[in-house]
């Protein structure tokens, strides 16, 4: 009796092990890898991004995909897979690459301070060098600096997508209510105007501290380069005099921000500008579609400008702070047809026509050179053309200081900015903490 029970126990245990192994095998057989194709069917490419269909760039991406699929009917099918939340998307991509299943094509943040994805994922990612070299006109559509940035160990590990400028949107009618007729060109005038706006009962500028504190860090970057030029900071040099002076100015700027700026996130801060409660916001081109939706008479009421300067020769007027370079990575595939399909899609997506479509209808200028003289811009949004023109005319660009930080330091950024805003840490301490976090976290 007992031996029969033991035998049954052993059989049951074996069944559990077999079932578990089968499940494990199922899970390991799925995953990405340079598109998928059946012997006679079309190659299917999943394009993974945060371009959801409820925003302009998502709609434009879907239109481009539709056009591409029609042109490659029966051969290639591109499918958009989206995750709205950027950190979640980035985490998901890393996990998939980590377990050997890189998505076919995916959008990610290229962080020069954290090249772990490029380092450990390069064996499973497409090296674009030979495809770019084989098509000089395609290669020429990117700047040498951008291609050099995405080169790791001699391999071009990604295709640059965008490096959005952060410009100052300002509400002309609120400025007029405070008796201001033109946008300030110096920081001294800027703070005087902020005071005038506040005296008129208007919140001068939207800022926030949660998540990546993007608005505040844009302001901080502009303030730093106005004191120290575009060399005011870089990856290993955050503790500088211009950075400390800029931190003091940022603290002052918070006194002109909405009451809920400390702790607020992007949605709250941008809504404050869109609702006409605050007079300025430093944001990327994607704000234009929201302005279009939410603000009446936006063509006459809203202006776009580059940041003021200190009025000396340290910084050239019109210098622009940009976001990090966002790039497209793609899974390498042993099947040449699949890999070629991915290359074809990327060439189509970064072509001048597609770039013009993304900039105008998608309200999301790509990093490829996009002249605004073409027909696409003739009927484009009244804010997009000046936005792209200001970007094209910029004498110099500087990446937002936050994008020079390690991900560990970025995670601590909200608490540091909040500490500065509420006065619990001094500007000097703020900068020294930034420097320390950027170099010592495990």
């Amino acid at each position: 009796m007992r031996s029969r029970a033991r035998r049954k126990t052993a059989v049951a245990a074996a069944a559990v092990i077999v079932a578990t192994s089968a499940l494990a095998a199922c899970s390991s057989s799925s995953g990405g890898g340079g598109g998928s194709s059946q012997s006679s069917g079309p190659v299917t490419i999943d394009v993974v991004s945060n371009f959801t269909s409820d925003i302009a760039r998502g709609q434009e991406l879907n239109d481009l995909i539709k056009q591409f699929n029609a042109e490659h009917k029966g051969k290639i099918t591109v499918v958009s897979q989206t995750t709205a939340d950027w950190p979640t998307l980035q985490s998901k991509i890393r996990t998939e690459i980590s377990v050997g299943g890189a998505p076919d094509v995916f959008l990610y943040n290229f962080n020069p301070s954290d090249l772990s994805l490029e380092k450990y994922g390069s064996s499973s990612l497409i090296n674009w060098t030979k495809y770019l070299n084989a098509d000089p006109s395609w290669k020429a559509s990117f700047t040498g600096q951008d291609l050099s940035t995405v080169t790791y160990n001699g391999d071009t590990v990604a295709i640059p997508d965008d490096q959005s400028s952060a410009l100052i949107y300002y509400n002309k009618s609120l400025f007029a209510k405070a008796g201001i007729s033109t946008f300030p060109t110096t920081w001294t005038q800027f703070f005087a105007d902020a005071k005038a706006l506040q005296a008129a009962g208007i919140t001068p500028i939207s800022l926030y501290t949660a998540d990546d504190a993007w608005y505040a860090m844009n302001a901080y970057s502009y303030l730093a380069i106005s004191d120290g030029g575009t060399g005011a900071y870089y990856a290993t040099k955050l503790q500088t005099a211009p950075m400390t002076e800029a931190a003091a100015s940022l603290k002052e700027l918070f006194s002109y921000a909405p009451k809920n700026a400390v702790g607020a996130n992007y949605a709250v801060a941008s809504a404050s500008f869109l609702d006409g409660k605050s007079a300025m916001a430093i944001d990327g081109p994607w704000l234009i579609s929201s302005i279009q939706q939410d603000m009446k008479n936006y063509c006459t009421d809203v202006g776009v400008a580059t940041a003021p300067t200190n009025g000396n020769s340290t910084e050239q007027p019109g210098t622009i702070v940009t976001d990090a370079l966002t790039v497209w990575g793609a899974a390498a595939s042993p099947d040449q047809a699949e890999q070629q399909a991915v290359v074809d899609w990327m060439k189509f997506y970064t072509s001048p026509d597609s770039a013009a479509g993304m900039a105008t209808t998608g309200q999301f200028p790509l990093v490829v050179k996009t002249p605004t003289s073409g027909p696409a811009f003739a009927n484009s949004n009244c804010l997009m053309k000046p936005f792209v023109d200001l970007t094209n005319a910029a004498p110099a660009k500087s990446v937002n200081v936050e994008r020079y930080m390690t991900t560990e330091a970025q995670a601590q950024l909200p608490s540091l900015v909040e500490g500065l805003a509420v006065g619990s840490i001094s500007p000097a301490k703020f900068v020294s903490e930034l420097q320390q976090l950027n170099t010592t976290a495990p």
Partner: protein, 287 residues
């Protein structure tokens, strides 16, 4: 006498699932907590560096302090409120069914929605709280509740403490099992309402109270929504708690080793808290 076959059939699935989804992942977490890993590539063994970093990190110290503060608020504020309400409703006052239902409803609403609702109620410009204070002439009491380091922690605790429905129902259920003869006999012996509550009802439901506190500790150790939605752990980390710290390290900082170390500390802290509750219960039983 339980037969071996029964043991295998009854316990087998639970043991397999516990091993697969609790024990092995926990071992993985412990191993990773001694490494530096960005979520990709090989993990580098760094000994106890993650743990030494954690205890030097003000954000982590704040997270531990706040987690304990939430446990204390649950035990010493929310639990007495649950108990008091259950004692009142068990006497079936006017409209007691309505109040029982009304108080229980928030327990079935998503915590994320409650947190969002309170986020807007506490908004400094359009929020109901400041609006009410302004309208009754108490403008001097208005605050930027969630942005002010001196008020943010208490502000995000409010919805947690005042939603007492689940604990109340648990206590009511237990109170309903007390024989009415006991209370009637006490009444005949001259015991007033307070004496009946303190010497009969509360001792009779002490196991339910202990169970509730176990639930509460477990909930607080997992609780993520209130600080995440209402303050994102700020300002200056004053509302940071352990789950949010783990999330930030893993998702925002890609510091998986550090996140795992924080997770291990959370597990140890949870086990210690559970042990304290169980020892407290044993002590109460022995009296």
């Amino acid at each position: 006498m339980v037969k071996a076959r029964q043991l295998v059939v009854y316990l087998g699935p639970a043991v397999v699932f516990a091993l697969a989804f609790i024990v092995f992942p926990l071992i993985f977490v412990i191993v990773l907590s001694f490494t530096q890993w960005a979520g990709i590539g090989p993990a580098k063994y760094i000994g106890i560096q993650n743990y030494t970093y954690l205890f030097k990190d003000p954000a982590f110290r704040s997270a531990i302090y706040n987690t304990l503060l939430w446990v204390a608020a649950g035990i010493f504020v929310q639990t007495p409120l649950c108990l008091l309400t259950a004692l009142i409703i068990s006497r079936r006052p006017f409209m007691w069914k309505f109040f029982r239902t009304a108080l229980f409803i928030p327990s079935v609403v998503s915590t994320t929605i409650l947190a969002l609702m309170w986020y807007f109620m506490l908004d400094p410009t359009v929020g109901l709280v400041n609006g009410t204070l302004n309208s009754v002439g108490l403008k001097s009491l208005t605050r930027t509740w969630l942005s002010d380091p001196s008020t943010a922690q208490w502000a995000i605790m409010v919805p947690f403490v005042i939603y007492i429905g689940f604990g109340m129902v648990l206590f009511l259920t237990q109170i309903s099992t007390i024989p009415r003869e006991l209370l009637e006999a006490a009444h005949l012996d001259g015991a007033n309402v307070w004496q009946q509550d303190f010497f009969i009802t509360i001792p009779a439901i002490r196991r339910a109270i202990a169970l509730w506190i176990l639930f509460l500790v477990g909930y607080v150790l997992k609780m993520f929504e209130y600080p995440f939605v209402m303050t994102d752990g700020g300002p200056v980390n004053v509302t940071m708690n352990l789950p949010l710290y783990v999330y930030n390290q893993m998702v925002t900082a890609n510091a998986y080793g550090l996140a795992m170390a924080a997770g291990v500390v959370t597990v140890v802290l949870g086990a210690l808290l559970m042990l304290v509750v169980l020892l407290g219960l044993r002590w109460m039983e022995s009296r």
